[in-house]
Symmetry: C2
Subunit: 268 residues, 2 copies
């Protein structure tokens, strides 16, 4: 099952899309969150103006999704000259009962020529070709097999002071980067709380915000190359931790930034 | 007009709230974005379980709001045992035509006792009492008068390499910090792009994401004290820049983190 097939939806009535969960993108008790975000963005992108591109996607993970069919409904909230505002819901009917499983708001926008500034730097790490593919077999989560992950810094044994997990990542099989795969790649970073607790504790993402900084031309320039995920945790406590990630092209373009808040269970 | 009065809504039918814009929280061509976020959160909070507190608020600013009445509608999307998912829309009817002006999704959650980690540090700056109140009269934006802002680092003349705007901020008149005022304070940071361009160029926030890290008890501990806003820009280009802000209590609690994407006009 390729990524493209896994996020393919069938158009129904306007603003209504049918899909089926993908075993290949399965996490522990539901689908991989990056796949959920990509599916919502796929439905939303179908209605957005062709001249625009995603600017932001705020996804909330409300309930576990069961294996099987689901429906995404989309609603255009506001259309301006160059920005377009949307809402999407992922619903699943199991045994006659409909459940709201996830939702997202998105903004699509045209990009213009303006002054440009970049105030952050990509981490200086070894090239992906010089790093081994992460062996995550012991974690036994199916979606890992859909990504080629080359850890450059951090990881579960990396209880260093740096608090930074850096990895090259790309789809398996490799495919040209687009906004859908970039949305999914935003959820591929190593959960930094594992580095602090020293073990893979129970976690579940509640909400994930993505800002897309790359233009379509900048995505096209990446092709099917690895991209670099640079991820940190700022704070954890009272049942939730956050994770802040920057995604870079090898050429040093900041493609996207993403933040999430994750439920966890550990400690007193 | 105090903040409390400015964000007070009148309950209508279930999930429907009536409000009026506040001249005191006016920006250039519409209300201050922080006020909009707080109004949406006020409506959403009315329906959320009393034992929960806001965990995230993702606000999208879709159209200019005219002076006068507006309606906020809210919808509960999913209620779990300890997390509650919501959607809100701010609509305004002007001359018989209804406009969708803003929307938000929010997650409310109970907080539990867990292990805690803090991986970031507040900036080491002078106490607010030793700093002058920012004189922003020349900018002539009314909402500035509703905040006591003490710039500790950065600002429009601060074209330093640090790319960091740090300021103590609090409501005027001062009032005990709560989630509503904290949401508004998330939009009070100095737009870092002004430091790069050296001038107050046209900008307009498109989307703002807030993660609330503080528990109700931690907010109560702040009382009406100043809080510290530590803000940076990561990237600007193709018509949009981002801004990343951490809000700290004087005692060093990370109260909230927020990111926004802002439309701007400058350069070729």
């Amino acid at each position: 099952m390729t990524f493209d097939r896994a996020v393919t939806l069938e158009r129904g009535e306007p603003g209504r899309y049918a899909g089926t969960t993908s075993d290949a993108y399965w996490n522990l008790i539901g689908p991989f969150g990056g796949w959920i975000a990509a599916v919502l963005l796929a439905a939303l992108s179908d209605g957005a103006p062709p001249a625009s591109a995603p600017l932001s996607l705020s996804t909330n993970f409300a309930a576990a999704i069961e294996p099987g069919p689901f429906v995404v409904t989309t609603r255009n909230l506001r259309r301006n000259r160059s920005t377009d505002f949307w809402f999407a819901e992922l619903m699943q009917t199991v045994a006659g009962s409909a459940t709201h499983c996830a939702n997202a708001t998105a903004v699509f926008a045209g990009r213009r020529s303006t002054a440009a500034y970049r105030e952050v730097e990509p981490p200086d790490v070894a090239a992906p070709e010089s790093l081994p593919r992460a062996d995550l077999a012991q974690i036994a989560v199916k979606w890992f097999a859909r990504y080629d992950i080359r850890v450059a810094a951090g990881g579960i044994s990396g209880e260093s002071a740096s608090n930074r997990a850096v990895a090259w990542i790309r789809d398996l099989p490799s495919r040209p980067l687009d906004y859908l795969s970039l949305a999914a790649l935003c959820d591929c970073s190593f959960p930094q709380i594992f580095a602090r607790t020293g073990q893979a504790i129970p976690i579940s993402t509640i909400t994930m915000n993505i800002f897309f900084h790359a233009t379509p031309a900048e995505l096209a320039a990446v092709g099917d190359d690895f991209i670099l995920s640079d991820s940190t945790m700022r704070v954890a406590g009272h049942g939730f931790f956050d994770q802040l990630t920057m995604l870079w092209s090898r050429a040093g373009t900041l493609l996207a930034t993403t933040e999430q808040v994750v439920w966890f269970k550990f400690g007193p």
